[in-house]
């Protein structure tokens, strides 16, 4: 497990030593801070049947900022190593390809969680400052944290695979963005001209990120999204492993 931790910390370091990390973090925190304030204002104006947590994470603005994180976090993982040629030194060191994939993936997930942290600090801060207890239940905060962790882990695995597919970080970023977006909009297909409760809408809701979040943001833990995101992450990571290994055989 030692190569894993060495590579993991090397990835983390190189991310947090680059100015880009702080630009992303600042923009993401600012966007959500602004959103949070607007939500609170809106709920002051007019009572909402849903909680503050639900309203924040159901906002299209949140998702816009959120989905852009992943290409930015993952684009360099493998593509940059291939572009610079350092992948040769990396894969001829006595380390398993699987350790390399897991370390890079793990580091990207850790980076993602660090970027998410300030947003989750809003809720306890809000409660502390206003003393308002009816705006949301703590369970909703934990539920949505779990949801965002799962969704993020899945999206990072999309980015990891995309980054292994090309030697150009920009192409990796675009691929990741396209697939993350496609997956996001796949969830909305359940509403397309179909009666609620039909097989189609039931089936498509299984893919619906927003639907998963709605459930988890109520503080209800459902095992289906858990299985869904984790199994797809594992699948995409093993594909990444396969891509890196097949590079040896390819023309």
């Amino acid at each position: 497990m030692r190569p894993f931790s060495i590579l993991f910390f090397k990835e983390l370091r190189s991310f947090f030593l680059s100015p880009m990390a702080y630009v992303i973090m600042a923009l993401f925190t600012f966007l959500n801070g602004w959103l949070f304030v607007s939500m609170v204002r809106a709920m002051q104006m007019q009572a909402s049947p849903r909680s503050l947590v639900h309203n924040l994470f159901a906002s299209g603005w949140f998702w816009m900022g959120f989905l852009i994180l992943f290409p930015l976090i993952t684009m360099r993982l493998f593509a940059d190593e291939r572009k610079m040629g350092t992948i040769e030194g990396l894969l001829t060191a006595p380390v398993r390809t699987s350790e390399v994939v897991l370390a890079k993936y793990g580091a990207a997930v850790a980076v993602y969680l660090v970027l998410l942290l300030p947003v989750f600090a809003f809720f306890p801060l809000f409660r502390l400052v206003t003393g308002e207890v009816t705006a949301f239940q703590p369970g909703a905060v934990w539920g949505s944290l779990l949801g965002l962790f799962l969704i993020g882990a899945f999206h990072v695995s999309i980015g990891t695979l995309a980054s292994a597919l090309t030697a150009n970080p920009l192409i990796a970023a675009m691929l990741t963005f396209v697939f993350v977006m496609l997956h996001y909009f796949l969830g909305f297909l359940q509403n397309f001209g179909m009666v609620t409760g039909s097989v189609w809408s039931e089936g498509m809701s299984y893919f619906s990120t927003t639907e998963h979040m709605n459930v988890l943001a109520e503080g209800l833990v459902d095992s289906r999204p858990l299985v869904y995101y984790l199994s797809f992450s594992v699948l995409l990571l093993s594909l990444t492993h396969h891509v890196l290994e097949s590079r040896k055989w390819r023309a």
């Binding site: 030692r2 190569p3 060495i6 590579l7 090397k10 190189s14 030593l17 680059s18 610079m84 040629g85 350092t86 992948i87 040769e88 030194g89 894969l91 001829t92 060191a93 006595p94 380390v95 398993r96 040896k248 055989w249 023309a251």
Partner: protein, 322 residues
Amino acid sequence: MIEARHLTKRYAGRTAVDHISFEVGKGEIVGFLGPNGAGKSTTLRMLTCFLSATEGTATVAGYDIYEDSLEVRRRIGYMPENVPLYPDMRVGEYLRFRGRLKGLGYRECRAAVAEAMDTCSLAAVERKMIATLSKGYRQRVGLADALVHKPELLILDEPTNGLDPGQIRQSRNLIRELGERHTILISTHILSEVEMTCGRVIIIDRGTIKASDSPQNLIRRLRRPGSVLLEAKAPATAATKLAAIAGVQEVNPSEDQDGWTSFVLATDPQSDVREAVHELAIRESWKVRELSSRTASLEDAFVDLLKEESPPESSSSLKTEN
């Protein structure tokens, strides 16, 4: 140390390495010599487990490159072509990262890095960003990286590519020094390099091995005629007298100014006719201002080998430096 059996690599439609078999013994310094595109890097990448062979296999220190890839990689210090490094890391930090990645413990790694930096004279740039280093320093960082875990075998792909003559001389000395502790396989398209550092040369062209021998034997085996240059004040008839010397095949006189003539004598391989020429000149009372011999070099041997069956363009990428 290395035993390659029928190593073959085919890239979509073209065979880069074609059934190569060779051996490298423990303690040897072997030069892998060939023009650009000959398949040197491809072969080294198969040995270091970066690429898989299409056919054939190899063992390094007794371990198979497929079956025991990790063990093989543990025993190799590899410096890839063009020395890829992380530009955003500092030299010391980079070497410590590489040392740890190659399995050194924390303390062990600090000592090993200090030693490698000492060997490669890197102390002055320990805290510098790799992105700011000159080509010569980058090359030395690559070398320090290759030897930080004290591998039995060093594989260096064109280690002096892009250096200036002074730096080439330095790194050549360094490689010779390293040869006392490591087995070394070094690839290059520069002839003088192997001639001076390597005990054995494997010449490779278009994916096949053309020769494998010591530089001296290669030169001898090729039996290229030597040539002797004589510059003397002598009458035109001197050419026939020179041609009569045993071992001289042909004489080409060309007149210089003030009565001096240059004679270029083509001689049999390995026969040194200078003494006979000197005696002749004394007997005939010619004034001599130069008498020198030019023996075949490895370069000639190399060019001849490639000429044997190849179209002209393959040797055009050859380069000779100092």
